[in-house]
């Protein structure tokens, strides 16, 4: 029995322990990335950025770090253990975009990289925008109703 099959069998037959381990790792790495974000936020605020600018800079910095780690092949090694811990923070979004772009290089820059870069980013942006639009329409109606009351 080769080791890969063996590992899968072990994994299959010990769901509760791997479930606990996965959750613990996700908690640790997810918490850690958020702490890094908080420290960056404090740094940028300390350097004189207003709250909004500092927030945007934190997002961009984390995206940039995750992109470099993805390009160097380090991100995947961490993500294999961290699971949702690296997926759910904005680093996961960056990793998905960068790895899709790199994987589709052989298919050319237009329909390869240009199209496939949206494989994960596309759905996230689309449904984020949809939710935002629905909220916007509801909020607009709400402001109209409130306006009529006054």
């Amino acid at each position: 029995m080769d080791s890969k099959v063996k590992k899968e069998l072990i994994k299959k037959h010990s769901p509760s322990s791997s479930l606990f381990k996965n959750s613990l790792l996700a908690f640790f790495f997810g918490g850690l990335i958020c702490v890094i974000g908080e420290l960056l936020l404090m740094l940028y605020s300390h350097l004189g950025c207003d709250e909004k600018t500092a927030g945007i800079l934190v997002t961009v910095t984390l995206i940039f770090i995750a992109a470099i780690l993805t390009a160097l092949g380090i991100f995947d090694k961490i993500a294999r253990h961290a699971g949702a811990g690296t997926l759910v923070p904005v680093t996961g979004f960056s990793n998905a975009v960068v790895s899709e772009a790199m994987d589709s290089k052989s298919e050319g820059y237009v329909l390869g990289v240009g199209a496939k870069i949206y494989t994960v980013a596309g759905p996230v942006i689309l449904y984020g925008i949809l939710s935002g639009f629905v909220y916007g329409v509801i909020y607009y109606i709400y402001t109209l109703v409130e306006g009529m009351k006054l």
Binding site: L19, A26, F27, F29, G30, G31, I33, C34, V35, G37, E38, L39, L41, G55, V58, T59, V60, L62, I63, A67, A71, L72, G73, D76, G83, A84, G85, L87, V88, P89, V90, F93, S94, A96, V97, V98, S99, E100, M102, K105, V113, I117, T119, V120, A121, P123, V124, I125, Y127, G128, I129, S131, G132, F133, Y135, G136, I138, Y139, Y140, T143
Partner: protein, 123 residues
């Protein structure tokens, strides 16, 4: 609030949000891509009901760094745009607010694909 206390709150809240996603992946058939879509939409919803800003005041980056923060950012942009431009804001606010993150990720992806050879496949 003291800095160590803030960091502990950030660590715990960020960790819990990731554990929920990990449990969804392990216990249901949700793929990572679906988790990301779900989290962004949930972020919009949390902002829409007015719970996001109070959470942000307590947990800081613990709620803004996970993708629900990305969703909340879209919702906030939409709300501010609707206040300024009326119904048109529902079309312009979301992408405007999330433009920095989206542009940064897309450009990083493009540059990485030009400069590096692929190492491994994922997702």
């Amino acid at each position: 609030m003291s800095i160590p206390y803030q960091l502990i709150l950030t660590f715990i809240s960020g960790g819990i949000i990731c554990v929920i996603a990990q449990l969804l992946i392990d216990l249901t058939r949700l793929t990572p891509a679906r988790i990301l879509v779900l989290y962004v939409s949930v972020g919009v919803l949390i902002y829409a009901v007015g719970a996001f800003d109070p959470m942000k005041d307590i947990f800081g980056a613990g709620v803004t760094v996970p993708l629900i923060g990305f969703g909340a950012n879209i919702a906030k942009g939409v709300r501010e745009a609707v206040e300024k431009e009326g119904l048109l804001g529902a079309l312009t606010g979301g992408l405007t607010a999330s433009s920095a993150g989206i542009t940064a990720a897309l450009l990083c992806g493009l540059f990485a694909s030009v400069l590096f050879k692929t190492k491994s496949k994922r997702m």
